[in-house]
């Protein structure tokens, strides 16, 4: 698969402070979650990809174009939604769209048509004719997202697209990202602190900490448990249930008050799980393959315990 982003030993210093240190990173098409604690280097990495800052050392390609010499070609093909509450003052929503579209070399009439089309996609109604200063947080967020995609970019970089949104708006925003990725084959780099967002939309995850890449892998791979197991949700006496399983030679561990992790291949576990429930007088309320949670992966990566740069 052709890589979207290929960075080799990228280092970025701000004076005496090293924001990125020898970053080797390959990002493939799909939705990639870019995670990291504050000060990890996420924003610097985004600025490097956009050519907003010059790298101190290293080289790289974005969408096949060299990072340093072809920033213009790269910018034509990237849509960027900044984290800040930034918008073009003094203009209405549709005028803002037109300006950024025209700056992306789209002719005026087409820019206006595209602006309306994208605002429709983002669920913005008549408020598009209002001055942007009067917009609510959610509307500004939608406008920023719309401004990022108005020129039909191949790669979208979204910096905290769901922060400050109510649950309904958040779901709608995630849905838009999903539609862009699945139906329109856009690649997305989603920079966020909200791990459930990553869990529901991302295919790959990159975790940065201390200016270096700690984890870069597919979400599926990361969440897979080292030993196959099933998580059983019970109602009844969990200890009695565990004892029955132990008598059957099946190992298990307590996950929470009403959840057990039962070790073994799924096919081999199905019958004993149900028979153990009958014998212990418990009810099985849920049965799912066990997965590492993203929170666990994140904490172990930034805590320095898991340098799984796989």
């Amino acid at each position: 698969m052709l890589a979207l982003v290929e960075l080799k030993r990228i280092t970025k210093d701000y004076g005496g402070f090293r924001a990125l240190s020898n970053v080797d990173l390959t990002i493939y098409p799909g939705v990639t979650g870019l995670l990291g604690p504050n000060g990890a280097g996420k924003s610097t990495l985004i600025k490097v990809l956009l050519g907003l800052v010059r790298i101190t050392e290293g080289s790289g390609h974005v969408l096949g174009f060299p990072l340093i010499t072809a920033s213009d070609q790269i910018r034509t093909r990237i849509g960027y939604m900044p984290e800040d509450d930034c918008y073009v003052h003094g203009l209405s929503g549709i005028e803002s769209m037109q300006v950024v579209a025209e700056l992306s070399r789209i002719p005026a009439t087409e820019a206006l048509r595209r602006g309306h089309e994208i605002l429709d996609f983002c669920g913005m109604g008549q408020e598009r004719y209002r001055n942007v200063e009067t917009y609510s947080t959610g509307m500004r967020q939608k406008l920023r997202f719309a401004m990022a995609i108005v020129h039909d970019p191949k790669l979208l970089i979204l910096d905290e697209p769901t922060s400050g949104l109510d649950p309904e708006e958040r779901e709608a925003m995630l849905n838009r990202i999903r539609i862009l990725a699945r139906q329109f084959q856009k690649s997305v780099i989603l920079c966020t602190h909200i791990l459930p967002d990553v869990q529901v939309v991302c295919d790959n995850v990159v975790i940065l900490a201390g200016g270096s890449v700690r984890v870069s892998n597919s979400l599926e791979e990361l969440c897979r448990m080292p030993n196959p197991s099933l998580t059983v949700t019970l109602s009844g006496d969990c200890n009695a249930y565990r004892e029955v399983l132990m008598h059957k030679g099946i190992a298990s561990e307590v996950v929470s008050l009403r959840q057990l992790r039962v070790f073994g291949e799924a096919e081999a576990l199905h019958t004993p799980i149900w028979t153990a429930a009958r014998e212990s007088g418990c009810l099985v309320r849920g049965l799912t393959p066990s997965k590492n949670s993203l929170e666990q992966i994140f904490l172990s990566a930034v805590g320095g315990e898991n340098h799984a740069n796989s």
Binding site: Y14, A19, N38, G39, A40, G41, K42, S43, T44, K47, L50, L52, V53, R54, D72, Q73, R75, T76, I78, Y80, P82, E83, D84, D85, C86, Y87, V88, H89, G90, L91, E95, Q98, V99, V100, E102, L103, S104, R105, I106, P107, A108, A111, M147
Partner: protein, 264 residues
């Protein structure tokens, strides 16, 4: 050109605020008020002949219109060109477009020139009309051309200063004007040749209806450029292009971020 048109229109739209419009009218009215005050309170008309009066009016208009009026107008529009986008955090949107920085600064430069020149032209027409001298058409045409050249050159200079020092753009522009244009520009030495005032002053003496006795005064020999008016215009335009290109290069090289300071 599509991008330039977009920035120009957008910058004009957002310039049309009550405060900016009031400032435009203030700049246009400023030379007119001074002219009326001089005619009402001053008495030099009774002490001097017509030629001397014309010279005095020419000097006053030169100082007021291509000088103060244009410089103050440009100060408000060109100096904060980069700072305004950084403060409003819209820099990221505009700078990340293809050649975004180039089109943004060029568009803002053109708006600044138009904004300052139109205020100066309005001021010129009304002030020259109010002074009551003859050769008004010559005065208006000369002052209008001087104002346009002044607006072009100072917009480029202030844009460069504003790009180098976005946080204190207006203060540094004022410092530049006082130190470089007024002090260095008046020193009869090589250094004054790189100032805008040196070229503008020469054009002023060439174009305005000045008394020959005034032109013959020694002071003029040291603070005026040699060469035709065409050459002075060429140098002014060349200086403007140089400053503008320098401003764009500096904006490209500086790592402006609209994000919160310290955001890594």
């Amino acid at each position: 050109m599509n991008s330039l048109r977009a920035v120009f229109v957008y910058e004009w739209k957002r310039s049309l605020t009550a405060g900016r419009i009031a400032w435009w009218f203030a700049m246009a009215a400023f030379p007119v008020l001074i002219t009326i005050l001089i005619r009402t309170l001053g008495d030099f008309e009774s002490h001097n002949d017509i030629a001397a009066q014309k010279s005095v009016w020419s000097v006053i208009f030169y100082a007021l219109i291509p000088g103060v009026c244009v410089a103050l107008s440009v100060l408000l529009t060109a100096a904060p060109a980069v700072a305004a986008e950084l403060e409003q955090r819209s820099w990221a949107y505009l700078a990340t477009r293809p050649n975004g920085i180039f089109w943004l600064l060029l568009g803002k430069f053109l708006v600044s020139v138009t904004w300052a020149a139109t205020a100066a032209w309005m001021g010129t027409i009304l002030s020259v009309g109010a002074c009551g001298m003859d050769e008004q058409v010559r005065m208006i045409l000369s002052l209008s051309a001087l104002s346009l050249l002044s607006a072009t050159a100072y917009s480029a200079v202030y844009l460069l200063v504003g790009t180098i020092f976005p946080k204190r753009a207006m203060v540094f522009c004022m410092l530049y004007t006082v130190l470089v244009e007024l002090v260095f520009g008046s020193i009869p030495a090589i250094i004054n040749r790189i100032t805008v005032q040196f070229r503008l002053r020469t054009l002023f003496v060439n174009w305005m209806p000045l008394d020959q006795r005034m032109k013959d005064e020694d002071v003029f020999q040291y603070v005026l450029a040699e060469g035709s008016s065409f050459m002075q215009c060429f140098w002014l335009i060349a200086l403007s292009v140089l400053f503008l290109v320098a401003g764009i290069v500096v904006a490209h090289r500086k790592e402006f971020t609209s994000a919160t300071e310290g955001d890594i």
